[in-house]
Amino acid sequence: MWAAILVTAAGCYLLKLAGLSVPRSVLGRPAVRRIADLLPVALLAALVGTQTFGSGEGLQVDARVVGLAAGVAALLLRASFIVVVGVAAVAAAGARLLAG
């Protein structure tokens, strides 16, 4: 765990430094910029999927979907980040209580 944390820390720092240091021409190519713009989109979407439906080695539909739906509703209503997360947590916890 610590090794992974330190690798992440070092890598993220170097990524930040690289942008400040490397000439535009190298990292400025259109395809590279498009990929870099789409990477967070794809990864975050993948994380939404795995966090909501993943369970160990398989998939499971449970109270997390309720939480997610509530969170999306909050986003559509332009709620702030912390409200979205809080609403999702409360909705999922509530669904679990009701389900027994």
């Binding site: 690289a18 400040l20 498009r34 990864l43 975050l44 993948a46 795995t50 160990g56 947590a89």
Partner: protein, 220 residues
């Protein structure tokens, strides 16, 4: 310090408070995912990038190895490199100051450095925001982690759903055009489909392949 500069610093503090606040949710979620208070504070101090930190914790919580969490976090960290590209000419920093500034490169500090009339104001926006967020994000992480420690089973509090929603909240502002939305949909569906088939941590990394394919194909 003139009126413009005071306004920059005021905005920076406001951004710091708002961004720092959601550090509380990171701290609570990280601890609920099995990290120690020290580990989650280390992430906020050293990695200092919200999406990467949530991703690391999310992958680990879902059963992935810490190293696949690291890989996902690093891939998400690549957008800070793009920010650095834009900041390089705006800030004009060299040597040790560039090294220090690098740690503070995040969405908010970059945004606050842009659209300024001169280099001094750009630097002021960048550093005041970066330092404000850094201080408050880390304090909030500690607070959230300690509070999270005091809770019982995280699922009773819906914290697993909270993590998923944190990712949606981070994703939402990026779904600005058709290609982004299509990429998100494809990556999400692919990742879920792969969960029963490959080891934990890999389904999310497969999402990165979707981004590469989508980026390479488009010309517009």
């Amino acid at each position: 310090m003139g009126e413009v500069q005071r306004a920059i610093v005021r905005d920076a503090l406001a951004v710091g408070v708002a961004t720092g606040a959601y550090g509380i949710s990171f701290g609570a979620i990280a601890v609920a995912s099995g990290l120690t208070v020290l580990q989650c504070c280390a992430l906020s101090l050293l990695v200092f990038t919200g999406a990467s930190q949530f991703a690391f914790v999310g992958v680990v919580a879902a059963g992935g190895t810490p190293l696949s969490g690291a890989a996902t976090a690093l891939l998400l960290g690549s957008r800070n490199t793009l920010y650095g590209l834009r900041l390089a000419s705006l800030l004009g920093l060299g040597g040790a100051r560039r090294g220090a500034a690098a740690q503070l490169v995040i969405d908010e500090s970059t945004a606050m450095a842009m659209n300024r009339d001169n280099r001094a104001d750009a630097r002021l926006g960048f550093f005041s925001t970066g330092l404000a967020v850094f201080a408050l994000w880390n304090l909030a992480t500690l607070g959230g982690a300690l509070a999270g420690r005091a809770l019982g089973d995280p699922r009773d509090f819906g914290l697993d759903a909270a993590v998923a929603s944190a990712f949606v909240a981070l994703l939402w502002p990026r779904l600005t055009d058709a290609r982004s939305r299509a990429t998100a949909l494809a990556a999400g569906v692919l990742a879920v489909a792969l969960v029963p088939m490959v080891p934990a941590g890999l389904p999310v990394l497969a999402g990165a392949l979707v981004a590469v394919l989508a980026g390479v194909r488009g010309r517009r």
